[in-house]
């Protein structure tokens, strides 16, 4: 019970040649933070688009929310009121001429009255710490700042589920840190259900559950601790363990002083959030 997203036997093809998603089933509980990982082309971004109704699945079902709304062409507008998404390219999702206009965009689409919009803009701009930039244009902002605006825009819709599709891969370390901190805040304090799509296992370590994809299929599912034990499977999807865990794995075949203590310490370090 309490699953906010239910994916059942989902399949999707972009073209006759590649099957992008093959019979995926997944359940995402309310308030949890799930990371979907895999190589470039494994289908993780496609899955995100399917969840948002931007692509139509060939087979299978997606059920959203506690009411278990089936995602169809008719219900897609309702579903989009429940899930927000932040994409990878900070420039290609910034619609407004200024920060203010961009945060307002989603609300304008929902015909939210003006007074309410103003209130929400101020509230969420503050939350993401962009309140001093309301009249700035996107070309005056860094990548991290633009992504923060995108988050504010999604939150202003009072959504419970947020998808972050490689939202930090085009950012510098500072921007990445800003976004990661925000995601942590949203999940821990605001109890939002979070789906992060990434190929960074260190980042994925912060989440509650990991789902590893390869060539359109789920090959591994579990907590970080469970998933990190499977180095070979992870490698097959071009993923690399955090350094300490990689080290720990490579050390397995050697014999050396204090092996047990060192192995344990490395494992502990690698799983540190």
């Amino acid at each position: 019970m309490n699953e906010l997203i239910k994916i059942k036997n989902l399949s999707f093809k972009y073209s006759e040649k590649h099957e992008t998603i093959k019979n995926i089933s997944l359940e995402i509980p309310k308030g949890k933070w799930i990371s979907i990982l895999g190589h470039n082309g494994s289908g993780k971004s496609t899955l995100a688009k399917l969840l948002m109704g931007l692509l139509k699945a060939d087979e299978g079902e997606i059920l959203i929310g506690e009411e278990e709304i089936l995602l169809t062409e008719e219900s897609v507008q309702d579903v989009r009121k429940k899930i927000g998404i932040v994409f990878q390219n900070p420039d290609n999702q910034f619609v407004g001429v200024t920060v203010l206009h961009d945060i307002a965009f989603g609300m304008e689409n929902q015909q939210v009255p003006r007074e309410e919009m103003i209130e929400k803009i101020n509230h969420y701009a503050n939350l993401v710490n962009m309140q001093d930039y309301l009249h700035k244009g996107p070309h005056e902002l860094s990548g991290g700042q633009k992504q923060r605006v995108a988050i504010a825009g999604a939150l202003a819709m009072d959504l419970d589920i947020m998808i972050f599709d490689e939202a930090t891969s085009m950012l510098d370390p500072k921007g990445t840190e800003e976004i990661v901190d925000l995601i942590k805040l949203l999940n821990k304090e605001h109890k939002k259900t979070i789906i992060t799509i990434t190929h960074d296992l260190e980042f994925a370590n912060l989440s509650d559950e990991l789902v590893v994809m390869r060539q359109g299929e789920i090959i591994l599912k579990g907590t970080p601790e469970e998933v990190f034990k499977e180095e070979e499977l992870l490698k097959s999807s071009n993923l690399e363990l955090p350094l300490a865990l990689k080290l720990q794995n490579d050390l397995k075949h050697h014999n050396f002083k204090n092996k047990d203590k060192i192995m344990e310490a490395l494992w502990k370090y690698g799983l540190k959030k």
Binding site: L243, L251, N258, I262, Y269
Partner: protein, 282 residues
Amino acid sequence: MEIRFEKVNFQYSGLTDTTHALKGVDLKIEGTGEFIAVVGHTGSGKSTLVQLMNGLLVPNSGVVNVFGFRLPAKRNQKINELRQEVGLVFQFPEYQLFEETVLKDIMFGPKNFKKTKVNAEERALEAAKLVGLDDNILKSSPFRISGGQMRRAAIAGILAMDPKVLVLDEPTRGLDPQGRREMMDLFKEIHEKTNKTIILITHDMDLVSEYAKRVIVLSDGLITFDGTKEELFEKEDFKDYHLSEPQTIKILKYLEEEIGLKFKEKYTYDSLLEYIVEGEHE
């Protein structure tokens, strides 16, 4: 044969203000054998620095000397040939692809320079082989291949120009972990095989500790450090540079704290592994 910066200043004049991007920079880079990481916060002047090396930008004051070619150049002196000597690969270089086929695009660079015009196709094929692009890809349109292949094609395009020095602006941005490793191993291979100087702009301290020999730290247009990576990471006041420590060091520090394993500076993964296995840490 070297690249020299002597008291170089550079300012960008915007419509409402000017940004002083580089302030009195002095620098010397050998034409061969160096593997340099250029690090610094966004806006510290890293891009400006490398664009001054191939003449895309010209100093407002001071002199940049690239293999004997002085910048600012005299009126009417052609800067263009300089760009063959210093091969600059921008961030997300896949955006520069435009030709009908991947091979043609890789040949584009060499065809533009006197030195490499003659056997442009040969050079292109060699470069393609070096980055791991097969014949099928060479025949395809650059827009029908994967993102990772596009990036490799773009880099091959610069390698085919046979530059003396290779400058790369965050070449691993946006790549998945394996892609990142393959790319860095490629540069390592080029460096070891040809002894070309490689200059890498990066934010990733782990890349620095794994691959670089020398590190230049920029902050607000000034060079705040120029030395070996060991010297940098072992500095007393390393914290003041606002750079993260490499993972290898963090792990070693943790191991010392948790189980008393004697700390010793190790920067590459292999050396760390070796250190633990050889057990000199008692």
